[in-house]
Symmetry: D2
């Protein structure tokens, strides 16, 4: 138990390093009887995959997922679903130079201090590559949630560096490499070109949302739905901030504004972001997250080596100048994993009709 398992009832155990033979995960607790094949999972992996545009790392891997267990004749059996993704494009020589140095803003330093050794190849365990198995597990969760409740997960970029991105519509998101919800992404292209030339990196802000969420997900005190979402999102590499609903804007709101009025037809607004008292209201879940700039950049930065001697670190190799560009499918997946876990928890404590008092009466 060193924090490599996510979830309590739909539990995903992640393993692997960036440049080892393979990465993957084991899903424990998936409901039985659901149709499942690699074809349900691969599309989301494609959305996260590196090498798909000039704005992301050129490490180009197929990221082909293989189901090793838990599915028989095309249906989940209720036993663990092991998913394997081979690492096929490891250029470890890129990393040799920095094995004895710590990149500013990178996990190099803390891994070394915690464990006394680290796998420096491609960031080892700290690589964002380890989000691929979560995207795969999230695809399984998404399928079940869609079948059970009609839940739909979506995400988009809302800010790239200093540029705020207007929301023009979800339909634009799949049409550009930024997951931007707008038609003309040329300002973002121009921005990224300049950034790449400068050898620097930038941050991003994402929005992720779930519609069709049943009432009643989330535990009152600690495993609040929003607390678990915050945990899930802050656990994504490079995330430094998480908001639910109105988020930090709530500080300057009045109670008479913030509290969403309720009418017989439903809620009149969604400052709550779909969660009250830690429990889902049935409204859309609305989450916002801040992703820091990549620490692996071409600009020299002051640091130390493992013997605490001063060095200037430049990170060559293939890196994303904005990790936020590939993070949208990851955030969707993590949200899906939180939701399915709480859906099973609700069912455990309150039965199939839990989360809908009206239906029960």
């Amino acid at each position: 138990m060193s924090g490599n398992t996510f979830g309590t009832l739909f539990a995903v155990t992640n393993f692997g390093e960036s440049h080892g033979p393979a990465i993957g995960c084991v899903i424990d607790g998936c409901p039985p009887g659901m149709a499942l094949s690699e074809a349900d999972i691969q599309p989301d992996l494609e959305r996260r995959r590196p090498g798909t545009s000039r704005y992301v790392t050129q490490r180009n891997e197929p990221d082909t997922v293989q189901i090793l267990s838990g599915v028989y004749e095309g249906r989940t059996t209720g036993t663990p679903i092991a998913l394997l993704i081979a690492n096929t494009n490891q250029r470890s020589k890129d990393y040799g130079a920095i094995a004895q140095q710590f990149r500013p803003g990178h996990a190099d330093y803390t891994y070394w201090k915690k464990y006394g050794l680290r796998d420096p190849r491609g960031g080892g365990r700290s690589s964002a590559r380890l989000t691929a198995p979560m995207v795969a597990a999230g695809a399984v969760a998404k399928k079940w949630l869609a079948q059970q409740y009609g839940t739909r997960l979506r995400g988009c970029m809302t800010q790239l560096g200093e540029i705020e991105i207007p929301f023009e519509g979800w339909e634009h998101v799949p049409n550009n490499p930024f997951f931007a919800p707008m038609a003309d992404v040329s300002p973002l292209q121009t921005y990224m070109e300049a950034l790449r030339k400068s050898g620097d990196s930038c941050g991003a802000r994402l929005r992720v949302t779930a519609t069709g969420v049943p009432v009643g997900l989330g535990e009152p005190l600690f495993d609040k739905l929003d607390a678990d979402i915050a945990y899930a999102m802050m656990g994504i590499n490079a995330v430094k901030g998480v908001e639910i609903g109105a988020g930090f804007a709530c500080v300057a709101q009045r109670g008479s504004t913030h509290g969403d009025a309720i009418t017989p037809a439903g809620f009149a607004s969604n400052n709550a972001g779909g969660v009250l008292g830690g429990i889902s209201t049935g409204q859309d879940i609305e989450v916002s997250l801040a992703i820091k700039p990549t620490s692996s950049i071409l600009i020299a930065r002051p640091s130390v080596d493992v013997d605490n001697r001063p060095v200037q670190v430049i990170t060559a190799g293939r890196h994303d100048p904005c990790v936020g560009l590939r993070a949208t499918p990851i955030a969707e997946a993590m949200l899906a994993l939180v939701l399915i876990d709480h859906a099973l928890r609700l069912r455990a404590q309150c039965g199939d009709r839990g989360g809908d008092n009206t239906a029960r009466a």
Copy 2:
């Protein structure tokens, strides 16, 4: 397992309702041999206690803690420490009127929908009163952390409604009822008086920090230190946003700025907020959180009753117009609980000298 236990190795199980006979918690996993008495815990409870200023709820309870177990002849024995706080000032009649209605922005609605019934007296389980046992447990954690590492937890308010509060020094925090780090709090007083007269409520922004944190706390993938902090903070009643270090400001930063330079004497800045790759760096842990305005206000709001008929809800009774005013000790306590849990986890996997590679060599 309905989310009422916080932590894995230093595990705190919370129980109680606002107007039941008592609230409390059971701490499991406390290291043995530490001197402990109620006198170590009561001061932090006093800091959180209601009725201490005109700006907070006038429900005035002594919140006296009693240790029921786990301490023998003044020392922890390693067995569960049960802490009990009697409820002495329940005026349940205040709440009768709203037992069949849902306050906008309140957990009334979701509890009802999830469980099919709820304890409406004083908010029942959803009351912020349930943070008192966490403050008590946090005091135990703080004592151990201070003895073991010299860790110190501090918090303050950084914004009240629209008013940003300048940081003039930690020494001011205990001298005013706002936990404000400034000498002259008259603007805050004026603001709160006006708010109270209007019958409305407002939000707040808090900062909480830990100094003297060892390197190596936090797990790489999911139980990252910052992910667990986000989980802890978002789990506090009314919190809608959490930031670590630079937080949302990182979006517009460059990698060359955000990544904290390292020198042989230590880090040159702290955009990371003391966490890299989910593991503590040894720098101060820096957390910021947004607290929404109280939902229990004197202004009529549109809502529905349990039969989905439209009603206008006005919440009489004793309520905090800004729950953020009493949240600083809570946030400190939750941070302390995260830190002690990870300190024990580090010790488990890496031994006593874990988190200090230099010492190990």
Copy 3:
């Protein structure tokens, strides 16, 4: 997390010491809406209570349980149910003499070595008194199981020291202080009188069974129903052996005998003890356990003190000459706790109709 919480979804956290102010537990995860009051719990506590016959410890305590939370207007709310039992009859002076010595066969030695200190009053945390909160929690579980499935838990003594006790019928069990399923218990009385005069203690063998158990409880690999039962039973003070169904007799059986034949009307025998592949079959759960003789006896035994000097230990004070005499309600309670936990787990993964494939089709 030092092992004071039992169960995953119906989780019971136990606290207290034999001679502290109180003992108790917190039940987390109880389904909402069940009628519950102290009157549902007290009868089982009476069955376990000391001082009820001349064959058990004369420490006479009412063991009155108080519900502190989780119940509103007579129904469970789904939030934690805290149960408190005050300690009213602590004669700590009895134990002073042995605070620096280790009773052979007692936890004195290991607590001291593990924690570096121990609460010696009445055995502190290692006292069998700490099973009282489990009996209380078990009563809650029993009620839910009975309502949901018609499950019934029963137990009896099958051997006292060397005396094998014939099974004449469940109806005899409540009529004697041995929980013996036979009409005439005079041989057991004679045996116990002689034992008490000798100052010695003896072991016992118990049987505990559950009828009306649904098919499908238990996880395939590790949290097998029988594995969790073994864990629960071996965790009861003084238990040294556990059997399911045929138990150790299976060693000399043939597969053609052991494997219970199945007919359209059901199973033809129950060597399995109601569990196949770790999952309940719907037959009765059959468990047998061995309870060792009490270590606190009036006969001098060689031991050492805390400075490793040889001593002769005689344990005065009030002790059960056969702890097995009061263990039947405890074993029933622990079995009930295992069953409810797995019932909720089944519901989580497979839905309300899980565990009944026929009904699902």
Copy 4:
């Protein structure tokens, strides 16, 4: 969380089915810095491997383990260690006939009833083949325990069917296919030949022991060392009974006999089996377990099919006539996993010197 993860701090997540592409496990929480390669693991897998004598299943697989992650330059990094074992010899056609029938005494019935479907190929998830990854994980645990404390795990068969096996010495165990601790195993050979000809199967009794165990392992109340051992052993396929130390013999013992006398030089006997009050004493851990006869036999047995129609079941295919023959390395591995988990838990709560009060003073 469907019970496929074993352990809390040294947590092993198992996946796979008998006839899927691969089986394996993920070890989370292994201490960093330990030398580890496949060569440390393979020997124990060889001891468990099928096809090695005429008395076990002739399914002959190399069971070659591959380390996929968690090891860098020959040392554990503290991140998850994924172990993969390919399935190379699946003859699924053997099982087609019984996919719609339930073998008496087999998990066929309960899987079907619980999940509504099952993977019938080779027993699917219920196959004893799934113990191979546990043997692999156990080898990692054994290595760490040996280095840290000099702990040594050993096991042997003590009864085969009706034949009690005398203990002549550990040195004989590796020299025969029965793991029998005696020189001349011809009686066992004769017995097994006759059994095989009869088409039937038999049970076995095993003993497993650990020497060099530190004092202080185990939690007082629920996660007692012996309770966790009972859970681990009863979780092994086909186990129906578990004893610690004197086991069921304690029932007829007196307290004056059972309680092991203590001298300044140590304990004078070991009825406790190395555990008092749930905590290790430093003596050898002594465990005994009963393994039922294989349910897959060549003798026709009455059963039903999935439509509840009566059938006669004969199980062709390759099966062990006594699964106990290959269970010794499995029991050793499970014991090792319990011990390492508690060793890390002890270290977490009490620090490196926990479990040795003398050293601490």
